[in-house]
Symmetry: D2
Subunit: 311 residues, 4 copies
Amino acid sequence: MTAPLDPTPSSSPKSSSGASEPARLDPNNTATLTIACPDRKGIVAAVSQFLLNHGANILHSDQHTTDPSGGQFFMRMEFHLDGLDLARGAFERAFESVIAQPFEMEWRVNYTAQPKRMAILVSRYDHCFLDLLWRKRRGELHIEIPLIISNHEDLRRDADMFGIPFHVVPVTKQNKAEAEAEQVRLMHEAGADFAVLARYMQILSGEFLRGFGRPVINIHHSFLPAFIGANPYRAAFNRGVKLIGATSHYVTEELDAGPIIAQDVIPVTHRETPDSLMRMGRDVERQVLARAVKAHVEDRVLVYGNKTVVF
Amino acid sequence: MTAPLDPTPSSSPKSSSGASEPARLDPNNTATLTIACPDRKGIVAAVSQFLLNHGANILHSDQHTTDPSGGQFFMRMEFHLDGLDLARGAFERAFESVIAQPFEMEWRVNYTAQPKRMAILVSRYDHCFLDLLWRKRRGELHIEIPLIISNHEDLRRDADMFGIPFHVVPVTKQNKAEAEAEQVRLMHEAGADFAVLARYMQILSGEFLRGFGRPVINIHHSFLPAFIGANPYRAAFNRGVKLIGATSHYVTEELDAGPIIAQDVIPVTHRETPDSLMRMGRDVERQVLARAVKAHVEDRVLVYGNKTVVF
Amino acid sequence: MTAPLDPTPSSSPKSSSGASEPARLDPNNTATLTIACPDRKGIVAAVSQFLLNHGANILHSDQHTTDPSGGQFFMRMEFHLDGLDLARGAFERAFESVIAQPFEMEWRVNYTAQPKRMAILVSRYDHCFLDLLWRKRRGELHIEIPLIISNHEDLRRDADMFGIPFHVVPVTKQNKAEAEAEQVRLMHEAGADFAVLARYMQILSGEFLRGFGRPVINIHHSFLPAFIGANPYRAAFNRGVKLIGATSHYVTEELDAGPIIAQDVIPVTHRETPDSLMRMGRDVERQVLARAVKAHVEDRVLVYGNKTVVF
Amino acid sequence: MTAPLDPTPSSSPKSSSGASEPARLDPNNTATLTIACPDRKGIVAAVSQFLLNHGANILHSDQHTTDPSGGQFFMRMEFHLDGLDLARGAFERAFESVIAQPFEMEWRVNYTAQPKRMAILVSRYDHCFLDLLWRKRRGELHIEIPLIISNHEDLRRDADMFGIPFHVVPVTKQNKAEAEAEQVRLMHEAGADFAVLARYMQILSGEFLRGFGRPVINIHHSFLPAFIGANPYRAAFNRGVKLIGATSHYVTEELDAGPIIAQDVIPVTHRETPDSLMRMGRDVERQVLARAVKAHVEDRVLVYGNKTVVF
């Protein structure tokens, strides 16, 4: 045990060497490994040894155990591919047989060079929608947006401005099943990896969710589980709460009950009306949705039961 | 690559198995290893393999690299000692030769069974002081408090109430050097591992810091680096800021310039006076100091240059 | 229309004349008037003219209208009594006949010289309880605490330390009605103006509330209306929320459904257990309760329907 | 003194009559009066009586005294013009002679029917700029934007999308005086009432400020007074702060030292780089700037010395 990690009181602080900005590695030559398995001894050693043996340099690593005496283990590792001694398919086959099977892992590798393809479903409110498009344009979200689906024409001009195909699929009580089938078909055709409901004002059926078969992220305009369902700002006003919020979660068949990815709130007072709550809430909604989408895109969200680990 | 980590849209959410509360391992039979070294391939593999080989079960692990292409590497691992095949001294000697020396590590192991011993220095304000005593009593801080040192008599009765030795060491311009020497002597005699300035209204000299030779944590009543020095609430009032805050940091010889551990702020309006800012600020001060002390006690704070990693 | 209220760009900022700290008026010679009535033209003019005519100097004034086209009007005015030309009783009779009756007001005057008398009901958790006692000692809460009632002996020593009478009234299923009657009797005997449930783990009956006949403030350990009832931290853990909170509200017969005075939340992650949520939540609970009690004590809370105006 | 304003414990809460949404008055037929004057008895009575006499119905009222024993008095009153018995000019002349002169007021009336005209100055960062344009489009900001001035071409397409004239005025060390003169000329020509620097990366001279002669609002990307000047995110990274922020203030000749209108911060950790701080900070910057602009537009900001009252 050598030098301390504590502050060295004898020396006055000098300009930190940590101040130098990291040199950038090629961001397109990295990958992210996510793992879930029953907790047991030796997982970290086995995975990190495997990556070391094959020349993968770990950039970031996070892990979590739901219960140290026998729970579920979760890990996320970002690593660089420069020194990798195997082709992608061979690397994945080796990991499956050497590591994943013995430890009974659910796992996945995503390559940064293949950004996720995000479908957006939206109705008339533009704030979450524009915020996502703008963050993509700014480079904050490493995604492709192959299509936008709406049940209204209103936002076509904005979609055009960003050069993204805009499909209007009107939804009525009568045509809901066909409309959903058409939506799923469009998303599959566009190769969407996941979908975001950016204030899409229709409830999705189980058929839609199973038909699409990929994650769907919603933004709900309350701090769930408070104010489930329609008109949460009105309900918040009626209850006289002193804060309002927003919740982003994966969509399941049960309304507003899926695994929560991100939540936030802002304080409000007696001066607000349902209308001003709605206006103030828009800022929270778009922040929370953007945070959830970014976490999903970067493979930081692992689902277990009806909960999430967000690394 | 088997089952997905995504939500399974086909099933409605069931009551999460994650809901079962973890069984508790003996909290006195764990240890925390903290490491700092130049980043290079293979550190995680080596450390986790070493712990595995010797029967230490990793409970939590965090790591950070300041720069993926050649920076500083930091790690904190909490592990259980139940299965350890070496005695403490032997374990540490083995780690030093097998792992620490090859990787040029600064490192340390702390055993939960030996709680850190915290000295408190305080003047007349009671809020941070009482908050720490109360958190210790509630079991929120795993520490011993062998002594309290003050330059005033005011808080003796509170110290008595908690059964902690209370030493008054008056400090004047004339006796400052002797007073500090006496403070250091008292802390060494009591076996203090670190000291907390819980609104101690004297500036510590370099002699004090070097003499004590262990970490000293301060709470400053502003969001540093704004409002360094005396009377920050008055300065905040004069500048007309819309938020006030507190900063907890390790003390170095340069006033209010040491490595920051924790900070927070609260919003304020034009209605406040310097007095009401001081009153409101007390709540932030004690929260921020408690957070910093807890992080330090749990070996979550690693210092490099004039900055901290807080796991 | 003369000089602008805007910044004067031609002059560089000079040290603000606002920097001078207000001279203090005698804080025991002020009063607070609170008013609720149907909104109509002329209320502010009438009230301010009345106070002016009788020599009361307005220190602070707040008002709120639920609906500018015919809602409810609320006002709170703090004024100084130095120049008052009427004795208290005469002043109040004059206000009632000249102002209150024509405008159909509910109203009240409270004199700072008569601090409110607060009863505390508490079970075993000490955090909210001690926080209130400290704040009172520090002068943050302008109150008297004539008695503490508990259903357990645990906190007697703390009560003694502060010199406050501590009454243990055990409550069982069998004796609940008598126990509540005894509690009400003790509070009436001590002249309590309001009561605070500082984590008192019994549900109060309507008989208690009607028998006491004065406001009762509770702290609930969730962001209501989420997680009503018992074990909200466990429920929050099970739902996987990303924030936990606390709500202080007036107690009504319907559980956790009374008018909300204050709420706050803190962010949490997947790393927390029900136990750590409980620990973290304590900090929010005591802050929120203290904020609510302070607002109540300073006559800042006006109730209408099941909501509050908090000035 | 009749019925209490406290919760009525005997009745269970009923659905609040406060739940009914206010009927809307014509938002174009209101005005806002702002006042600053030496504090003395009778101001509120005089102003509210004057408005009552002339048929103006007060919708909202806020007031503040810097010091109850002889400071500065500030008031903001929103009132409806439906019942006004005077034409605008006559109303203002009457107020000046009857109220403003006796009380030595600085004052102003703004009519909602005449939205303020906001000039935007911007360089290359688009986040604050787009945020303001969206909020205007959405109806969140009651303004007109007659022109945008930039020292770069980059954002022309966005300006076009919103149909707003976009003027490029390149600024170099050599042409700074002429460039500023041109900017002032353009703003005067467009009838701008105030200007917003939406991340405009040039320091404005005193000549500019005096030449324009109207308020200029800036967004600075730090929690002032910390990190004044260039590169605050880099400076925040180097200091190792645990929160970053943004400050919106009126521009004066002294850099980053003008009266603060709004500030906010977000927590950050050791994991951030200067780049990620910049990315995260963008969300705070645009929120804080939008809040400040909205407050200014609604006449909620009154300046005194180097500070603000924000109602």
